[in-house]
Symmetry: C2
Subunit: 437 residues, 2 copies
């Protein structure tokens, strides 16, 4: 075992290895301080491509890398896989399930989960998409729906199995709707015998009057048109009253479906509330101009957990580029403080936004220029490839995209968890004992 060296260097603890935490760690790499990064998993996840794992285009290993591997050359950074139970702001220590981690500076980048606006029981019927187990569960449900449709003798069930409902018309919802439509209308067409997968219905619901509400109205219209060209049934201004095992209840209709995907709301990590400072409606911590919290200049909150309104009057969006810039800023701010200086307030440099819809289809808003379609799609591919961590993953993803472009095939169409017949068979003939071997 290596010998522990007692150090009097400043101690930084970073909670979370997403974009915020990782970029903070990188800004502190090989500096004269000791950094501990704690994450619940062992990997940094490139969340913008997670929907491609959920739709069988990529494998989890393509969009995730061990955090300790990314930071291996930073000798001053220790990575801990562990669960943070409590932050003791008075004692200046973070408590995990194993030990305490005292800090001089704390960076909390614990992110967000999806929120069901108080209807937590909906999650079982309409899972969301935040981490790898989420993506694998959605993949299983989507692929399994086609299997159910192929094997069942019940026409009603077959129709429900071939109906996919996505709730929420933000980027994730739009991406999922486009990808499921491509799966049904391209990838799977030759593989089934009893069903025509092209007849699958993909319905995208949003309570707002347009999809992609963070984009301009022009681009929202463009996105909706592109979705409709892909046979996605876009229904805006539709309020979901409830969801259950049979489908989705709208104000004027009940949609029977076996697959509901939740892409509608976020709630910040409960760690934020623990700090005893103001949080906004989504549970995000209201931060000062340097991303710290009132009364505790040594605590920085960044990424999806931060509510930063000093720049535009409303909180910055919970997107990767905000988290990355906040992470880098925080690292620099800590180094400046140690050097006895103070950084100018955080300022987000908004280079624009993009959302992909499907093959040749996307929207892009670079402020000076806004466009949809083929070139937006190319731009989206390029940006996502260059920001993906690790050359190996970049090559792998690029190869799979090129392959899928020419063949429409998707490389990770696997259902491997024990097959649970989601409905009891009409005439149960045998005990459900499993004897296949």
């Amino acid at each position: 075992m290596k010998t522990a060296i007692a150090s009097s260097r400043p101690k930084v603890v970073i909670v979370g290895g997403g974009f915020g935490g990782l970029y903070a760690a990188k800004a502190l790499a090989n500096q004269a301080l000791d950094v501990t990064l704690i994450d619940r998993t062992n990997h940094h996840l490139f969340q913008p491509l997670l929907y491609q794992v959920a739709t069988a285009g990529l494998s989890p290993g393509d969009v995730a890398q061990p955090i300790r591997h990314i930071l291996r050359s930073a000798q001053n950074i220790k990575v801990i896989m562990g669960t943070v139970g409590k932050i003791d702001v008075e004692a200046r220590t973070v408590i995990t399930h194993i030990r305490e981690h005292p800090y001089d500076y704390l960076v909390v980048a614990a992110g967000a989960r999806h929120s069901y606006f108080g209807n937590d029981d909906w999650e079982a019927f309409a899972p969301g998409l935040k981490n790898i187990p989420d993506a694998l569960e959605l993949r299983r449900r989507i692929l399994n729906a086609f299997e159910i449709a192929e094997t069942t003798t019940d026409e009603e069930l077959r129709k429900a199995a071939l109906t996919f409902v996505i709730i929420g018309g933000g980027p994730t919802g739009v991406e999922m709707a486009g990808a499921i439509s491509e799966l049904a209308r391209r990838t799977l067409v030759d593989d089934f015998r009893e069903i025509r997968t092209k007849q699958a219905k993909v319905i995208l619901l949003d309570a707002a009057p347009r999809v992609l509400p963070v984009f301009t109205e022009d681009l929202s219209r463009s996105a909706q048109k592109q979705l409709e060209q892909m046979d996605v049934d876009v229904r805006v201004a539709k309020k979901v009253l409830t969801v259950n095992a049979d489908g989705v209840q709208l104000e004027d209709e009940f949609i029977k479906t076996r697959t509901i995907i939740w892409a509608a709301g976020n709630a910040a990590s409960p760690l934020g509330k623990q700090l005893g400072v103001e949080t906004d409606r989504q549970g995000r911590v209201v931060v000062t101009q340097d991303l710290s919290i009132p009364g505790h200049p040594e605590i920085f909150i960044i990424g999806d957990l931060a509510s930063y309104s000093h720049q535009t009057g409303k909180p910055l969006a919970g997107v990767a580029s905000v988290a990355m810039q906040m992470g880098t800023y925080t690292g620099k701010a800590i180094l400046a403080r140690i050097g006895g200086n103070q950084l100018a307030p955080f300022k987000y440099l908004d280079r624009g936004s993009m959302a992909t819809i499907g093959r040749h289809r996307a929207v892009a808003d670079f402020h000076i220029i806004r466009f949809g379609g083929f070139f937006a799609w190319l731009g989206w591919l390029w940006v996502h490839l260059i920001f993906l961590v690790g050359l190996r993953n970049q090559i792998q993803v690029f190869f799979q995209w090129v392959w899928a472009y020419f063949t429409y095939a998707r490389g990770a169409r696997l259902i491997y968890r024990n097959f649970q017949p989601s409905v009891p068979p009409k005439k149960p003939r045998i005990p459900s004992e499993d004897l296949t071997g």
Copy 2:
């Protein structure tokens, strides 16, 4: 929905989509009969590379392909994902959880699981490696052991976490031992701060007096030497008395470990026993010279479920090449029968055997020539690449092998299931509530 065409063509049902079932289906593709292939999962798994999934080198999608995709151009073949509950040999029908599938010819290729020789409670402590969930569970345990060693403050636990025990010195055991040793001594060395992963102990146990007992004594010795060069502690003629959460009890020693891998025994699918004919000690069905069963010439048993001794006096080994040849033979036998002919008895063409141990290390026995080392390793890579199903998977695996060859990196080092501290913390300080976000 497509219209079902009532058919008077002969009906073939194949149970299982492994090597045996798949090759039988391929032999029957686009012939004048209707084939239904039933598998519990939706994919054909290339089991010889599964150990690389378990050791984070490959992703599940690299070694598996949807069965219906492989067979998509065979219009006479229907693929069903379902669980076979019962085979009614009198009524000539296979009963799944959804419906009955009547047959004129039946091919049972349901394979084998690992066997604990009556100690089924050992499975929780020493999982085996037969399918993708098995591989992902082993991957989680192996990677998690290093994480536990890095975070714990308990020196005893750290030692146990850095000890890996593989029970069974057949090809799977040898491959796992070599791969874990490479992981510890190459891949992970720069990534940890508290532990030196090189100090990990990898112990390979077998009750027999030598590893790879199906090979010649020369090659067994070569394999053991190559393993020892990789710092694997090979202990033969060691009987395992029991395994539990703390480790492995041998006759003369207790090995404390957190990770035990079971590669010691197989038991055929329980479907075999259901047929009411003779089975051998491993539960394999004793088949006639044309792979059918006595009294039921319309039922063929192939692959790991078959016990075929007519060629050498002892049952053929449960390896991929035997299953492939049996599958192809069975397909031809069915076609011959329908045409009013009878095929000559099945004869296995044994082209030789290979087992890999690690980088530049393997053994090969091609009967006319036997060798170990670099060229055996190259041969192993080549054969496994060409037999892998799907050009896309071949390219992907080839790229990852080349990448790993030069960098030692492994692309799927992911722990994503909820982190369960495998031992209670020494001083529980907080409720175990999970607040990381």
